[in-house]
Amino acid sequence: MSDWHTSTLTQLAAGLRARKFSSVELVRAYLDRIDASQAALNAFISVTREQALADAAAADRALAAGAGGALTGVPIAHKDIFCTQGVRTTCGSRMLDNFVSPYDATVVAKLKGAGAIMLGKTNMDEFAMGSSSETSFYGPVRNPWNPQLVPGGSSGGSAAAVAARLVPAATATDTGGSIRQPAALCGITGLKPTYGRVSRYGMIAFASSLDQGGVLTASAADAALMLREMAGFDANDSTSVDTPVPDYVAALEQPLAGLKVGLLREFFDQGLDAHNEQRVREALKLYQQLGARLTEVSLPNLPLSVPVYYVVAPAECSSNLARFDGVRFGYRCENPRDLLDLYRRSRGEGFGAEVKRRIMTGTYVLSAGYYDAYYLKAQRVRQLINADFTRAFGSVDVLMGPTTPTPAFAIGAKTSDPITMYLNDIYTIGANLAGLPAVSIPCGFVQELPVGLQIVGPHFSEARVLNAAHAFQRATDWHTRVPQGYA
């Protein structure tokens, strides 16, 4: 059998349990696909072949004994922002090029506990700061639909890997759109859960109040299966929420009839590419045919998302990244003259340009005399955006709109203009500021490039959001399209 990669995660898990094939066979096949793609896509920073094969053998033994969890023997990949015990965890940075984590992130441990086999760690924008996966110390990730284009970011390695079917699912993180934007640009499903739904413990922090772990998969059903295993309260993360984890898989098949869908007026702005808009509007029409009721809603403060985000996120990152000082772990400059030299050169040489830009921005907005004008004001506007969402969810069940203004863009096209790059996240940042669950699903193509539809729901409404996404995927086949050369 050689077409495992066209199966969904859900099918693979079932096939393993039915012992139609072994985990070792499956893992080896995917590892071979990873190796074959690496030169073209650069989706992985580390591939853990030996460990994966050993784990797969153990999974086969468990399956033979009738034991195992929901994901036993299923191969996955982790974004290299999740700490993995005994495995290099770089966060896409020279700063952590030599860092082997002494512990597993909670997400990693939970998926391990469910039986998933890690094949490797995926490439990403350095410290998750970027929208194109070009800021990685390990070189840019390429989009499997067109290697001249970016896969989006920061979880570009995970997105490219799933799009090219190098793994059936990969973990990712989303601070301002880092799961949904690459999902859209790579034509796959990307789920950012509610802030607090998935533990952040062991997920290297970029902006703590916005970061949320999630998953990239080929379908909403696969995302539901992954989330069920990843979610839950963690005593090690004070911001994780102690509320029961519903069975997202069981909730997929609810009927859509009567679903109140809000069209986000602010998302259909002048920055939205006309072709993209067309695909999104076609998708909305399909929702109507499936029984949803569409109304237009307005979130007047939402256009302020990008400036608010580019105050709050850098502020938090300037503090979160202070621990990378060359003293205890990570990169240390050669022969420091004194303490100041150790700090300056370790950080100066260890961090890339975008990370430094954000640390400087963040340091500035928190400085005495500027704090009120920037940080405090941004927090106030963030409250207004929250209130806008709360008001909207008073009258609709979910909000829908485009995930990104345009399809994938060329590598290098936006690297010299950070503002243009930042505007790529204009439709995704709102859900991070308000801590809401949101999913991006493929809804068509523009010039052979995938376009994403975004669905945002109220806090802890992942089941509803995934259900809406799943209903769409039952009626369409966009999510089954695989880029040429990877089919």
């Binding site: 700490c83 004070s238 503090s319 772990f329």
Partner: protein, 486 residues
Amino acid sequence: MSAWETVIGLEIHAQLATRSKIFSGSATAYGAPPNAQANLVDLGYPGVLPVLNAEAVRMAVKLGLAINARIAAQSVFARKNYFYPDLPKGYQISQYELPIVAEGALDIVLDDGQVKRIGITRAHLEEDAGKSLHEGLPGVTGIDLNRAGTPLVEIVSEPHLRSAKEAVAYMKKVHTLVRYLEICDGNMQEGSFRCDANVSVRPAGAQKFGTRAEIKNLNSFRFVERAINYEVARQIDILESGGQVVQETRLYDPDKGETRAMRSKEEANDYRYFPDPDLLPVVLEEALITSVRATLPELPDQKAARFASQYGLSAYDAGVLTASRELAAYYEKVAAEGPEEPEAAAKWAKLAANWVMGELAATLNKEGLDITSSKVPPKQLGGLLLRISDQTISGNVAKVVFGTMWSGGASADAVIDAQGLRQITDTAAIERVIDEVMARNPAQLAEYRAGKDKLFGFFVGQVMKATAGKANPAQLNELLRRKLGG
């Protein structure tokens, strides 16, 4: 010229006596090998997160209740950002705009017996940093992060203190209080209790504060007093010679007895405080505050007032005996050994106070011990006092007996019997000795009877000598006077 007024405010750092650190599960015990008590959270590893120790919160609430402060229904942890090798995360988690405790007060007693209320602006929770090691590490600096993440409560006073003495009295009061509350072991050598002093001077009568200097990290009462006195003199010198005090941080050098500049205001860090997004605001339900209130012990001032009324002690004695919970408990155990009849009980209480503050305190002090390691337990001291009050032995003999009890561990009665120290109170026996003495010294007897009263002492001495000091002095006086008088 003494027309200067000193203005002092103290920031006291008390290490909370929790078993584990404020944001991690590492132990807080003192003296472990370097970094043996530093886990990944304490080391600031990538991806780790802080989780607040609920016990530290309860302890801060306890302090707040004991100083009649406002307990914040919601307080917020903030990050204080600066780079230093002993600060693993590059920021200290502290509280800034919304501390857990605000607007409290403590009373101190001044030299003239007046009570002065010292306002406490706030008390907030924070984590301690680690420390750099230089000894035995030529050419490099070691970092020990055992202390990193140790819970502290920082208690910030209003600038209400007007002299080094007042500052010390206030600091001692806080020291007594935190030990009473069992939220801090108060060990100053180990750094569990230390303070920064903000010192300024201004012309007497002026409203405006002078420019202040902050003296960092004072870890003994003596250093606080000396550092402040030095600093006050230094500032007055500057002002009287027409100069200006510079706002700066200073360090006290105990060897030289002086303070010296560490960094000026211009060089000060911009700490870029902001709420820590890894920690939720601390929300305190009324029920929690009530449950902490129920654990409050009798506080030092309450106990001192009770001692004064219950035992009839002076305010001073009551203050000394309640300086620590352990000393007060010791005293009360000794007091409980006494009689029940009110007049006798009052006498006993006074006798007990004199012995605890006198012979016992002196002996402890001489041996460098504290009350909990007294070699004479309260019950045994009570046994000794009983023999004083029933006149079995005199006060002077009691001191000898106490010394033997201290080194030998025996009871008072055992020592008295073994050394034959029992006082002679049998009238006939004393009379017999008096008769013998009178018979042996006819010349002196004649002189006395002729009016030489001074010889009375000679007869007392002779009888005491003959009884090895055991004759009851009062009885002896009375009997001797009668007999000599013929």
